[in-house]
């Protein structure tokens, strides 16, 4: 960014410079390999932790950096610089969805046992909500926890869980009443250990190849009493509490990815010649790039406005939902245009753009699908 854009200040731009340098030195050079490996090493969390990047918004008393959501927003945007949606997703799942519920609703003991080592990069977290039979329809979850002496026994299956195989703890939504649903679902922090009755299997995906996305099966998995997160039967409140941030984080990630994709594609169009002049010298391509730049700008404005409201303490359900809906679809469409401008080269594995296009396809599905976003808006707008 050449000029300061609200809500970011000079301090955030200094942080952005630092994070960008760190990512471009420590992560980006390995992204291609990690994509091919369908995995990035656990040590990445340790490196990020050493730089303070797993605890930007958490208090210093828990080993965090004492910042806030705006600082975290810078990370969300800059993670796109890895060039690997899967790597960004694995890190994002840890900092944006797995640890926030523990920070907000956990007991002091839970914070010490999970949040502190998570900020140090020693324990990796995952959030387990989605199931084979329940995605957007969270009330239909069927994984159940039965009360036993000293805790619960969990049975069921979660799927599409980011960090699912490698996670040391899974913040898991489970039915704690016969009926389940809005008033019968709770969160348990399920810790991995020997003979824990948990089996995981990694899933093959269209994009996000470096991400560890898994199906997790619980068979008579015992979870101790003290690992109930928040109130019994109160999971819905916890799920809803973090939705706004999760969707903002996704919007910021999309804006970051769009910006880089546009810059690279514009450069390609200036360098690549066809019919005796650069591609950007052809009106069709020039206009396309102008439209794409407008899309990046529009997405950035909508996202930053929602972010500004969020950090100001408003309840910007409408703006966050709109930003999520707008940016995820726009990002995928922009990547498709970038690929088109690259021509045959864009379809080749050796170019970054085919990966960017595949990675962007998840946006309109994850974190609440486009259809759900529209349903929320329908309600908010009184339709």
């Amino acid at each position: 960014m050449s000029t300061l854009t609200p809500p970011f200040s000079d301090e955030h731009e200094h942080l952005r410079q630092s994070i960008r340098g760190f990512i471009e030195r420590e992560l980006t050079p390995h992204a291609q390999q990690w994509e091919e490996d369908r995995w990035f090493p656990d040590e990445v969390f340790g490196k990020l932790a050493a730089q303070g990047l797993l605890g930007l918004k958490y208090p210093e008393s828990y080993g965090g950096q004492g910042g806030d959501y705006l600082h975290e927003a810078v990370l969300c945007e800059e993670l796109a610089r890895t060039g690997s949606g899967g790597t960004a997703a694995g890190i994002g799942a840890h900092v944006n969805i797995a640890t926030p519920p523990i920070w907000k609703f956990g007991t002091e003991d839970q914070k010490q046992r999970y949040l502190v080592p998570a900020i140090r990069g020693e324990k990796i977290g995952a959030l387990g909500i989605t199931e084979p039979g329940a995605g957007s329809d969270v009330a239909a979850l069927s994984t159940r926890a039965e009360r036993v002496d000293g805790g619960w026994v969990v049975n069921g299956e979660k799927t599409y869980i980011t960090n699912g195989v490698r996670a040391h703890f899974i913040v898991t939504a489970v039915k704690t009443t016969q009926e389940g649903g809005h008033h019968g679902t709770s969160f348990l922090i399920v810790e991995r250990g020997e003979d824990d009755g948990i089996t995981t299997s990694k899933l093959e995906k269209l994009g996000w190849h470096a991400s560890d996305t898994a199906t997790i099966s619980f068979q008579d998995t015992f979870v101790a009493e003290e690992n109930l997160l928040g109130e019994l039967d109160g999971a819905f409140k916890l799920i809803m509490a973090n939705f706004q941030w999760e969707r903002l984080a996704m919007s910021l990630g999309a804006v970051g990815a769009m910006q880089i994709a546009w810059e690279r594609t514009a450069q390609f169009a200036r360098d690549r010649e066809a019919f005796g002049r650069p591609l950007s010298g052809h009106q069709a391509i020039r206009h396309k790039l102008a439209d794409m730049a407008t899309s990046v700008y529009t997405c950035r404005c909508a996202t930053y406005d929602a972010l500004r409201r969020f950090v100001a303490g408003e309840d910007p359900l409408r703006e966050v939902t709109m930003a999520k809906l707008l940016t995820q679809r726009a990002s995928f469409e922009l990547m498709d245009q970038c690929l088109q401008i690259h021509g045959g080269a864009g379809y080749m594995r050796e170019y970054w753009v085919e990966r960017a296009a595949r990675d962007a396809r998840l946006g309109p599905i994850g974190g609440g699908s486009d259809e759900i976003m529209r349903e929320i808006l329908g309600r908010v707008l009184g339709l």
Partner: protein
């Protein structure tokens, strides 16, 4: 040991550099940054401090520049310096290398450092000589292009890059060392360090505070005066050989090189 690190605010690397013909000075408007070469000097200071071979009481970042240079100092202290000194005075504006070196040396005299570190060049003026000028005024020995540094009680054992290889030089402290960018990989500041930077002491001083002789500094009093600049001659367009048939392409390249007696 007390280490002073000279730092400079420069136009961001992404900004195209140009001379403003009306002033004869570099156009320093637009986005600015801490001179990237100076980040290596701060890192070198931090490594001496953290290495523990000698106790380092203090690392002080020192700059001369307009008000905006405070941001470069904030960046310098976020990288580990304990405090900073900012010499800012209209009297020193437009100083050439010799005048700048004199003004910085006067500023450094107030601090009595055991070691002065700086980057081998600034990303804008690229004169490479400030260290030597400062050393001359301070009466200290000086080394340039240093890419390895070991502290030995009251001396430094340095390796400096030369065209023929590396010199190993022992130098008595106090000394002025300009470091090459191969000396280390500078750290990136954490958020905590960035937020803490503004709380570290910043000493803003004038030319009078540093007892600078005003007749020796500033654009008018500088011995070097910019007269004119011209753009480098445009290069002739290269010849592009399309690779349609590799055998033919190779022959064309060989013929081209042969014609110019390059092979």
């Amino acid at each position: 040991m007390k280490i002073c690190v000279l730092v400079k605010e420069v136009p961001d690397a992404a900004v195209e550099k140009r001379i403003d013909p009306s002033t004869g000075r570099m156009d320093r408007s637009g986005e600015k940054n801490l001179n990237p070469y100076d980040t290596h000097a701060i890192e070198a200071a931090m490594q001496i401090k953290e290495g523990g071979a000698v106790p380092v009481e203090e690392i002080v970042a020192v700059t001369m520049g307009p008000d905006s240079a405070v941001r470069a100092l904030h960046k310098a202290v976020s990288l580990g310096a304990d405090r900073s000194v900012h010499l800012s005075d209209p009297a020193v504006a437009g100083s050439d290398v010799a005048a700048t070196g004199y003004a910085l040396a006067k500023t450094l005299q107030r601090e009595s450092p055991d070691l002065v570190l700086l980057g081998q060049q600034s990303d804008d003026g690229e004169c490479y000589t400030i260290g030597a000028v400062v050393a001359e005024h301070l009466g200290m020995p000086s080394l340039t292009q240093v890419i390895k540094m070991d502290v030995e009680s009251d001396a430094l054992r340095c390796e400096r890059q030369a065209e023929y290889g590396y010199d190993t030089v022992q130098i008595k402290l106090p000394a002025v060392i300009s470091v090459g960018d191969a000396i280390n990989e500078p750290r990136y500041p954490s958020l905590k360090a960035i937020m803490g930077a503004k709380k570290k002491p910043l000493d803003a001083i004038t030319a009078a505070d540093a007892e600078i002789d005003a007749s020796k500094v500033g654009g008018e009093n500088s011995a070097a005066q910019w007269i004119a600049a011209k753009a480098p001659p445009a290069k002739a367009a290269g010849e592009i050989i399309e690779d349609e048939d590799t055998g033919e392409t190779v022959e064309k390249i060989i013929a081209w090189l042969d014609e110019r007696k390059l092979i």
